[in-house]
């Protein structure tokens, strides 16, 4: 880490890609160095207008990722501000909200841990935090590869538009 620019639009695009890719791939994604991980949008997605940070729409509930309101917000040009995710890597499960240009973690729930003493607890929680951050990094690297590929303009972006419009057929835009 060396003080790179935050590039706000790319965080918002990452959130959309996460949402789309998890739906496209049925919630199971091959993240290369992080292995096979289950990734799905949990119970909340919030949206903002492109030129402001204030929340304009929030979609909640068990089916928020497929809710017509959520897709309509995206199709109407709103920007994803934060997204609640569930990640599973090996036997470890994480629930969290990713938010904003710096990818802040909000309310990140770590897997159960039972280390004894403050020292042990700290080491275990830091291991889990780093594991979670590693998975998020692997997801971002995969997003970056897709976002910079020729397939983005030719296949993936049209597929996201079709999906947001409720028109995605099975197999479209598959990764």
């Amino acid at each position: 880490m060396n003080g790179n620019p935050a590039l706000p639009h790319l965080s918002a695009e990452f959130f959309v890609w996460l949402w789309f890719a998890s739906e496209r791939e049925g919630g199971t994604m091959d993240l290369g160095e992080a292995g096979i991980c289950d990734v799905w949008v949990d119970e909340r997605i919030s949206f903002r207008a492109p030129d402001e940070d204030r929340v304009r729409a929030v979609v909640t509930g068990e089916n928020s990722s497929t809710a017509a309101e959520a897709l309509a917000a995206l199709a109407s040009g709103k920007v994803v501000r934060d997204v609640q995710l569930h990640l599973r890597r090996e036997e470890r499960e994480y629930a969290l909200t990713l938010r904003g240009v710096h990818l802040d973690l909000a309310g990140a729930k770590l897997p159960p841990h039972e280390a004894e003493g403050d020292d042990g607890l700290l080491y275990e929680r830091m291991f889990l935090y780093e594991d979670l951050w590693f998975v998020i990094g692997a997801l971002y690297r995969r997003f970056a590869r897709e976002r910079t590929s020729a397939r983005w303009a030719d296949e993936i972006l049209p597929a996201i538009r079709a999906w947001a419009a409720g028109e995605l057929a099975d197999g479209d835009g598959s990764g």
Binding site: N2, V16, D118, L122, Y123, R125, M126
Partner: protein
């Protein structure tokens, strides 16, 4: 909720600069120098910030390394106190004192200088009886890998933290950028950085 228990709400930073070889001694002194200090009881309502230990917000003794250094992790908390007077109660007391002054001096209205003097005296008295609002935010610094996790995402708390961190350790913090995930592939980072904003709206069809 924070470093040792509960859900994590975290903004991550890169630490710009090197940790000195004698950091154990140097950072113990630096933490002590910038530890939280209780203000005088009658202090006015300015905000005060400083470091405390995570085991108890009243503990500001950093002389024992085992209390804040755990292998590669430096762990502490940012304590910020601010006294705020209850506005309606302050107004009510002020009105009463001004009325008493007018009654004693046979005047309909107190001059501005007197009003100011009475206001300042009342603030001193009420601040002395008011407990501060206390915010404690824990943070972890991985001294080996050069990142800090600050357990709060509000901009105001983060601004205070970055400023006090710089004053304490002489090192700058840079908020995490997702491009940091691409540090091992600068070509990919450069290509991504050059990308604009995608429009997920369906393009209008000319023939529609």
């Amino acid at each position: 909720m924070g470093v040792l228990k509960g859900a994590m709400t975290v903004r991550r930073y890169a630490v710009l600069g090197e940790v000195p070889d004698d950091f154990r001694v140097r950072y113990a002194d630096a933490l002590a120098d910038h530890a939280f200090r209780d203000p005088p009881a009658s202090a006015a309502g300015e905000e005060r910030s400083g470091w405390c230990r995570i085991d108890n917000l009243l503990e500001t003794d950093f002389s024992d390394l085992n209390r804040w250094l755990f292998n590669q992790y430096l762990v502490a908390a940012l304590r910020t106190d601010k006294k705020v007077l209850p506005a309606k109660l302050f107004r009510a007391h002020l009105d009463r004192r001004l009325a008493e002054w007018c009654h004693q001096h046979g005047r309909n209205r107190a001059p501005s200088g007197v009003r100011q003097e009475i206001r300042e005296q009342l603030e001193i008295e009420m601040f002395a009886r008011t407990l501060p609002r206390v915010q404690v935010v824990e943070w972890v610094w991985n001294l080996v890998d050069g990142w800090v996790a600050f357990h709060n995402t509000s901009d105001s708390a983060n601004d205070r933290f970055v400023k006090l961190f710089r004053e304490t350790f002489g090192l700058e913090l840079a908020p995490f950028s997702p491009l940091d995930f691409l540090a091992d592939d600068p070509d990919l980072a450069a290509a991504l950085e050059a990308k604009g904003i995608s429009d997920y709206r369906r393009p209008h069809r000319e023939d529609a």
